[in-house]
Each structure stands twice: as structure tokens, then as C-alpha cells.
């Protein structure tokens, strides 16, 4: 109650006295409303956060281009392909072929194509979001998703190039497992440092990002050990063997259709939930995250959990790298190693998704749609300037992170509203 009340801090250091609510009068209704709000707050706050971010993003559009932000957002929505889902009637025949005629998963349809691209972006965002969220539940802030993703991607390429004789599914599994382990090991370094020396994970994961970036640059760059020597003009690795490609289940594989990595990401969401809520490991991680001292007193090894939580986080991010490589990139070039942002967007995904599995799904969808909807391929220059396109996503991402503190703001406004009412009541009485 205290934190929420917006009252001056209690200087006595005691928890303010909170007698039981009286059964009659107006008090319980306020309490009931507040309780309802708090329960609803789990959904309302992130929605408001996103809304405010979009509003300010709209102002940016208006200020820089003078165009109507609504048409800009419409264009982004269209470009994301999410409209494929909205006019269900149009797709009625997709599900009920006898109704009109079966057109199947129409890859020729631009909207369907856009949606496939969006979901391809959503896939790693879910996983890097989970990488941030899992550490968060243990009280750790994993800024290193990007580095862990890079390490995973590099490992996946190498394993995809090797073992080219293996049968498809086995090759995919080996490459993904290796990348997942590599991501786990990379983040595990930060976890180990935290557990043994207390080195702050924010610092170490940022450092590890840079180390991953430059190791990757060396490996992939000109004359690097992984560079494809046949390519004299481009710093890029060999392409992975076809047996390591993820199966494309929707759309044309040649046109970068949607691969089964999407379902792996959805599976990861389930794993995340089960791991946290149905295993002793999850119990320990949550206990340490909520109150490390109580966990220690309870007989839980805090250091062990710091290490494990970071390693599992890194596993999610490493898997993200593998899925991108095996799903649609197939090789890794220097520029992508140096400009990848997926891990950082994962922070915004986790924050907006409130570290819950379902929340992460929806916020990954939002950011995926934004990223793909603003990609220059989908742009109509008459609606907004290409220069603004990608940056608008970044602006909204930044605003989301900024507004995650919105809980406080909203509760403050709630309090203020209550005060205004009391004043009104007083004025009426007078």
C-alpha cells in the first residue's frame, strides 16, 4: 500500500500503520476499485505504455514530415502483413475450402508475404525477449542478448557448414544445440563472474557484447578463418548446407517463406513458463529474484542460481541466433555481425511484455510488425520519408523502455484523481 499511496516517505522507517478496512462506508469501494485496477494493471499498463509511445512517435512523424501520422501507421500496419488476419471473411475459403474455392496459403499475395516476413522477425525477438526476461526473474539484468545472439549465430553457421552429409533433421538439431550451448556458455561467463566475484552483470554482459562483436568480425571478416575464400570481394562466411535449413511451412522457400523456427520460438515460450512455474529450478530462480537473502536463508544457493539463470538466458539468445541463420540468413556477413540489434530490442520486448510468456509473445509481435512494417521494401515514399522509416521503430522502442516507469506515473495520476475528488467533496460540503 505504501509504495502505491504516493504519500511522502515514512521517515520513521516503519511500515505505516494500516488498520483493517472498516466494513461500511465508501472505503471498501475505493479499495475494491484499486484492487481491480491493480489486477487489470497487468494488462493496462503495458497497453498504455505502448499507446503513449505510439502517440509520441506520431508527433515525431508529424513534426519531421508534416504527414498525417495515422496514414503513416496505417502504412506500417499494412506493411507488417498483420492485415492478413483482420478481414477474416476474405480468407474464409482458406479454412472452409468448399465455401468459395481453395486458394491455399497464397504466397503470391503481398499481404501474406509481409506477414511471413514479420513472423520471421518476431521469432528471434521472442527468444531474445525471453533471454532478458529469464535473467530478470532471477534479479539479473541481461544486457548481453546481442552478444549471445552473435555467438549463437556464428556457431550455427559453423555447424551448418560442417556435417553437410548428415540427414536434415539431425543436422538442424546438432547446429541448433551447439548454438544454444554456445549462447549459454557466453552468458554463463557473466553469471559465473557474478556468482564468484560479484561483478555486476550489466557491466560484464556489455563487455561480452563487444568481445562477441569483434571476435565475430575477425572470424567472418577478410581473411578470417570462417570467411568464404571464394568470395574475394565480400567478408562473408560459406553458406550452410541445405540439410541444415529449417523447413519452410508457409510461403515459397525461395521468397524467404516462414520457417518452422517460429514454432520453436512458441515452444520456447511454453518452456519458459514451465521452467519458471513447474520446476524446482524455477522456484529457486524466482525466490532469488524476489529476495536473495530469504532464498539464502531458505537453503538455496544464490550463486548457483545466478550462474544457471544467466546460462539459460544465454541459451535462449543463442537459439535465436541459430534460428535466424538456419531459417533464412544461411550465411553470416561482416555487416550483420556488426549491426545486429535483435538482442537490444529483446530488452524492450521483455520490459513491455512484463517478463511473462504471453506478454513477450505480444510485444515481440508488436516490435516485429514495426520492424518489418517500416522496412524500406514496404514503404511508399509519398506517405513517409525512407530516412524516417527504420528510425521510427527505434524511437518507439526507446520510448517503450522509457515509459516502463509508467506504472508509477499512472498510479500517481490515480492518486491525484482521488485527491481531487476529496477536495470536491469538501467543497460541496462547505
Amino acid at each position: 500500500m505504501t509504495e502505491l499511496s504516493g504519500e511522502p516517505p515514512d521517515l520513521t522507517g516503519e511500515t505505516p500503520e494500516a488498520p483493517e478496512p472498516t466494513p461500511e462506508g465508501t472505503v471498501p469501494s475505493v479499495a475494491a476499485r484499486l484492487a481491480f485496477y491493480q489486477r487489470a494493471g497487468g494488462v493496462i499498463t503495458p497497453l498504455l505504455t505502448a499507446l503513449v509511445a505510439f502517440l509520441i512517435g506520431g508527433l515525431v512523424v508529424y513534426a519531421t514530415t508534416g504527414k498525417n501520422p495515422v496514414s503513416t501507421y496505417k502504412a506500417i500496419f499494412k506493411g507488417s502483413g498483420l492485415s492478413w488476419l483482420s478481414p477474416v471473411s476474405v480468407h474464409w475459403h482458406t479454412f472452409y475450402p468448399n465455401a468459395v474455392k481453395w486458394t491455399g496459403w497464397n504466397t503470391g499475395n503481398l499481404t501474406a508475404l509481409n506477414l511471413q516476413q514479420t513472423l520471421i522477425v518476431v521469432t528471434p525477438l521472442i527468444l531474445t525477449g525471453l533471454a532478458v526476461a529469464f535473467a530478470f526473474r532471477c534479479g539479473l539484468f541481461n544486457i548481453g542478448g546481442n552478444g549471445q545472439y552473435t555467438v549463437g549465430a556464428i556457431t550455427a553457421v559453423q555447424f551448418g557448414v560442417w556435417f553437410s552429409g548428415l540427414p536434415g533433421p539431425l543436422h538442424v538439431i546438432i547446429a541448433m544445440a551447439a548454438a544454444t550451448l554456445a549462447g549459454a556458455a557466453w552468458a554463463g561467463i557473466a553469471g559465473l563472474l557474478k556468482a564468484t566475484t560479484g561483478a555486476h552483470e550489466v557491466i560484464t554482459t556489455i563487455m561480452l557484447n563487444w568481445i562477441a562483436l569483434w571476435i565475430g568480425s575477425y572470424l567472418v571478416g577478410f581473411n578470417g578463418p570462417m570467411q568464404d575464400k571464394r568470395e574475394i570481394s565480400a567478408p562473408v562466411t560459406k553458406s550452410i548446407a541445405p540439410s541444415a535449413h529449417l523447413h519452410v511451412f508457409w510461403g515459397n522457400p525461395l521468397l524467404q517463406g516462414l520457417h518452422i523456427g517460429f514454432f520453436i520460438a512458441l515452444g520456447a515460450l511454453v518452456v519458459y513458463w514451465i521452467l519458471l512455474n513447474r520446476t524446482t529450478l524455477g522456484y529457486e530462480v524466482r525466490a532469488v529474484g524476489f529476495n536473495a537473502e530469504a532464498a539464502r536463508y531458505g537453503g538455496i544457493s544464490v550463486a548457483r542460481n545466478y550462474f544457471l539463470a544467466m546460462a539459460i538466458s544465454g541459451a535462449f539468445a543463442g537459439l535465436a541466433g541459430a534460428i535466424d541463420l538456419l531459417g533464412w540468413e544461411f550465411n553470416l556477413d561482416l555487416i550483420s555481425v556488426q549491426t545486429v540489434q535483435i538482442g537490444f530490442i529483446g530488452i524492450a520486448v521483455a520490459l513491455l511484455g512484463r517478463n511473462s510468456a504471453i506478454g513477450i509473445f505480444f510485444s515481440a509481435l508488436l516490435f516485429g510488425a514495426l520492424l518489418n512494417g517500416t522496412s524500406s521494401r514496404n514503404l511508399d515514399p509519398s506517405i513517409f520519408k525512407p530516412e524516417l522509416a527504420g528510425n521510427l521503430t527505434r524511437i518507439i522502442q526507446g520510448l517503450v523502455v522509457l515509459f516502463v516507469g509508467a506504472d508509477l506515473l499512472i498510479l500517481y495520476l490515480w492518486q491525484a484523481r482521488k485527491k481531487v475528488r476529496l477536495l470536491q467533496r469538501k467543497a460541496e460540503q462547505a
Partner: protein, 509 residues
């Protein structure tokens, strides 16, 4: 000496927090030269009321009158301006600064408006201090003086700002009996010079010793204001709780058997690298409660942590039921039959964001029937919680309720349910009733005595001498990391007080 015109009056003060009415039309008046005690359980609304009075909270309804004039307090600054001073339970002093510097802080005398005039500051503080017989060196650093003296610095701070109404929030909670006595003498000097004192407490004996009048609050309501003459502990307790309360612990003679906890020449180094426990040896036997009395910070916490494996033992041994557990990890020690009610239930005893079911599983979640092969069975957690919550009469929530939503007393019951419910052979209870109200204290005490009667060895560590004396079958006194004395249950409070502050070292056992 007590004259009739009130220097301060609160009329119909109402303060609401979301979901609760902390003060419901409370009236209060303070006469010149009196000590007026504000008595009530935790959560009765005492702190809220004085925070309103000190300008920290704004009342939703009601008015404040100082010397008959209605005033509005927007901040503590306003309160100070009207001569109201407050001494918080936790002191607001800067340890590295001197007494005088702390006292003049924010109203420093200056030379030419820029430079701090140390000499003037020291002189004025010295004058003030001697005029009230405070015996404080203005040049001493705050960190080097005792807690009792620090409290006097806080009082001087208020006096320096020309306070004539002094609010003391649970002032004796941090003091030894001797220091408390000295404080009472100071307060009597102050009132004899025309100051008025509001004294917040939940200790009945202090009220009867010191106060001229007593106002009892319960659940935000003023129950009554009574004169000390004619007031009794039993009567006040009934007003506080709303029913008859057993103030004395009812217990039979101990039937002591074999030692279950043996500590031998234990040494522990604390986090700062200092030796906090310096060669402690004692035994706790089946069927007895051993009380460990001492002023806070004399090695009690480190001793408990060393026994429960949370802190490394530098030398010596800890035996649990005859088995050497020195250096064994905490979860194994818990499994070998230790129950540990920790000092701070919110920091340690509970994961406040966890449900009660999860909290009750804190020691056992990793073994059957709670889990198997790392797989947790939430339904089993809930089943056990339902049983324990019923047995220990936890109110205010079910197995799925978050621990944070419970009151302090019920939170402590959850901790007791977990620690005693596991059936340990040795039970350590550290400050088991801190911050609890009279009713909950009664419950906790009964549980401890019951544990003893069931043949457990109970080690009670408490800063409350009343508690030590009413529960213990033997009393050990700890001072600067050593056991300096051992007594039977009928030792006097005075004697313990002297030994707790190092006065009894000559007669150390």
C-alpha cells in the same frame, strides 16, 4: 505543574489510505508540562497520527490547534516553526559529523553569512546541553557515542530549534533498561521546565511509569484517554486489544533432557572482517528455553548465522543432536533438525512476492512430496499450506495469497508454521515478536513454550528483556561476542542490564 490549557489539540483527525482509515476522527490534546503517552498495537494509527502532527501527512479531515490557534502544517518545517519537534525511532543523524554539527545542521551559525562558525555552534550546543543536564560532548563524533547519547542528540536537535512540544516515537526500543531510565529522567526534567512530551509506545510498564495521561488507539479510533492514576496494565491491554490478554506466559517447570545444540569455543568473523563471536560455548538441552540477552550488535546475529550455516565459522564447533554440523551447508543443517525463526521476517523469513504456499515450502520444495526429479507439484504445496495455515491460525489469506498482503502478526505465524511445522529438534527464535502486537506476541510465546514442552531445544535471542525473562529457563548474557554471564530464570532485569553493557565482565562465567 500540569496546567490545564492545552498547548496542542487535534480535533477529529481523519486520515485515509487506499483501503484503510488510519485515523478515524481522532481527538487528542496535550497539556503544558505533561507526558502524554500514545498507546496502541502496531497498525493502531499511532505513527499516522504523529506524522500528521509533524506535517508529514496531511489529514483528510480535522484540525490542529497549537495554543488555541488553528494551524495548517504543510511540511515538517511548518511543524518546527510551531515548536513541534520529533525524535524518530531510527535516528536521523550523520555518523561522521560531530554532535554540534548534527545539531546545528540546516540552521548553522555562520561567520559573514558564508563560513560555518564552529566555535559558536559548539558553545551554543554546550550551553543547551548543560541547561538540561545532558552531559554530552559537542565535539564528539556521533558514530563514537552510545545509542542512548545519540538519542539525546536528537532531543537536543529539537530543543535547539526551540521546540516546546516533543514527539518521541518508540524511544525505548533501542535502549537498555539503564538508558531508558536515564531517558525518563531527562523527560521529567524537560516537563518540569514546561515542555510537553508525546510518548509513543506499546509497552505498558513504561506508560505506567512515565506518563501523566494515556490515550489508547485501536484500529484508527481513539478508545479512551485516561489518567495514570487508576490505570492498570491489564486494563490498558484490554483497551489496546479489545479483549482480555494473557500478559504473563503460562508455563510449567521444564523437563530437561540431553543437549541437542552444543556450541564449543565458536569464533566468527563478520562481513567487515572483525571478530563478532569470540569464543562462545554453551548448550541447549531438550525441553528448555535458553534466552540470549544482549544489546543489538553484540554478535547475536553472527552467532545465529554460524549455527545455521549462513556464515562461515572461523574456529570452534557446532553440534546439532550430537552431530558436528560446522561448515555444513544451510539446507543440510535445516534438514538435520534445525528450525530458525529469523530476525527479520520481511527481509529473510519470507519472500513477500511469493504466495503463502510457496513460502511455506521454502525449505522443502526440492524434495518429495513437493517435487521429484526437479519437477514441482504446486498442488502439493497448496495442500500442505492449507493444513498449516489452519493449524497456526493464519488469517487474512489462503495458500495463494501473496505474503506481502498479510499483517505482520500473520506473516510471523506463517514463519512459525514453517519452522515449527517441520518438526525440528532445535529451534532458534531470533526476535520472534519484534513489531508484533500484544495478541500476536501471546500466540508466538505460546508456540515457543509448546515447542519446549514437546522436547525441543529452544534458543531465544531477543533484545526485549521482558521477553527473555518471561520465557527462558536459563538466561545467557552476550556482550561483545562473548557470553559474560549465565543465570536462572529469576534474575533481575537490572542485573542483566548491567551485564549487557559490559558492567558484569568481572563476574563472567
Amino acid at each position: 505543574m500540569v496546567d490545564e490549557a492545552p498547548v496542542l489539540e487535534l480535533r477529529g483527525i481523519t486520515k485515509r489510505f487506499p483501503g484503510v482509515v488510519a485515523n478515524d476522527h481522532v481527538d487528542f490534546d496535550l497539556r503544558r508540562g505533561e507526558v502524554h503517552a500514545l498507546l496502541g498495537e502496531n497498525g493502531a494509527g499511532k505513527s499516522t497520527l504523529v506524522n500528521v502532527l509533524y506535517g508529514l501527512y496531511h489529514p483528510d479531515e480535522g484540525s490542529i490547534l497549537v495554543k488555541g490557534e488553528p494551524i495548517r502544517l504543510h511540511s515538517p518545517k511548518d511543524a518546527i516553526k510551531h515548536g513541534i519537534g520529533m525524535v524518530h525511532q531510527h535516528f536521523m543523524l550523520i555518523p561522521v559529523m560531530t554532535v554540534a554539527e548534527n545539531i546545528v545542521l540546516a540552521t548553522e551559525p555562520t561567520q559573514g553569512g558564508v563560513l560555518l562558525d564552529y566555535r559558536a555552534a559548539n558553545k551554543r550546543v554546550a550551553e543547551l546541553s548543560s541547561s538540561f543536564n545532558f552531559a554530552i560532548d559537542p565535539g564528539a563524533r556521533v558514530e563514537s557515542i552510545s545509542v542512548g547519547q545519540q538519542q539525546r542528540v536528537e532531543i537536543l536537535k529539537a530543543l535547539y530549534r526551540h521546540a516546546d512540544i516533543l514527539i518521541l516515537d518508540e524511544p525505548t526500543a533501542v535502549l537498555t533498561p539503564q538508558e531508558a531510565r536515564e531517558l525518563f529522567a531527562i523527560l521529567k526534567t524537560l516537563t518540569s521546565q514546561g515542555m510537553s512530551v508525546i510518548f509513543i509506545t506499546h509497552k505498558l510498564n513504561e506508560v505506567l511509569e512515565l506518563a501523566d495521561r494515556i490515550t489508547v488507539l485501536r484500529r484508527g479510533n481513539r478508545i479512551d484517554t485516561v489518567d495514570r492514576q487508576g490505570a492498570t496494565e491489564q486494563g490498558l491491554a484490554r483497551m489496546m486489544v479489545g479483549r482480555d490478554v494473557l500478559l504473563r506466559v503460562d508455563k510449567g517447570a521444564p523437563s530437561v533432557a540431553e543437549p541437542l545444540l552444543s556450541i564449543d569455543d565458536l569464533h566468527v568473523i563478520d562481513e567487515r572482517g572483525l571478530e563478532a563471536v569470540r569464543g562462545v560455548s554453551f548448550e541447549v538441552r531438550s525441553g528448555e528455553i535458553v534466552g540470549l540477552a544482549g544489546v543489538d550488535g553484540n554478535g547475536q546475529s553472527e552467532l545465529i548465522d554460524a549455527i545455521s550455516g549462513l556464515q562461515r565459522v572461523s574456529s570452534g564447533t557446532v553440534k546439532l543432536g550430537g552431530r558436528d554440523v560446522t561448515g555444513v551447508n544451510p539446507s543440510s543443517i535445516l534438514d538435520l533438525g534445525l528450525g530458525h525463526i529469523p530476525e527479520d521476517r520481511q527481509l529473510r523469513g519470507l519472500v513477500l512476492e511469493f504466495s503463502l504456499a510457496e513460502n511455506l515450502a521454502l525449505h522443502d520444495f526440492d524434495k518429495p512430496p513437493d517435487s521429484r526429479w526437479g519437477w514441482l507439484f504446486p498442488r502439493q504445496l497448496v495442500r500442505r499450506a492449507r493444513d498449516l495455515l489452519k493449524r497456526y491460525d493464519v488469517r487474512g489469506g489462503g495458500p495463494q495469497t501473496r505474503a506481502a498482503a498479510l499483517s505482520g502478526g500473520n506473516q510471523q505465524k506463517v514463519v512459525l508454521a514453517r519452522e515449527i511445522g517441520r518438526g525440528p529438534s532445535v529451534l532458534i527464535a531470533a526476535q520472534p515478536t519484534r513489531g508484533l502486537d500484544v495478541g500476536a506476541i501471546e500466540f508466538v510465546h505460546r508456540q515457543l513454550v509448546e515447542a519446549r514442552d514437546n522436547g525441543k531445544a529452544v534458543l531465544l535471542v531477543s533484545l526485549e528483556l521482558d521477553e527473555i525473562l518471561s520465557l527462558s529457563d536459563r538466561v545467557l548474557v552476550v556482550y561483545e561476542g562473548r557470553i559474560v554471564a549465565e543465570h536462572g530464570p529469576d534474575v533481575g532485569e537490572e542485573q542483566l542490564g548491567i551485564e549487557m553493557t559490559g558492567g558484569g565482565r568481572e563476574v563472567a562465567a
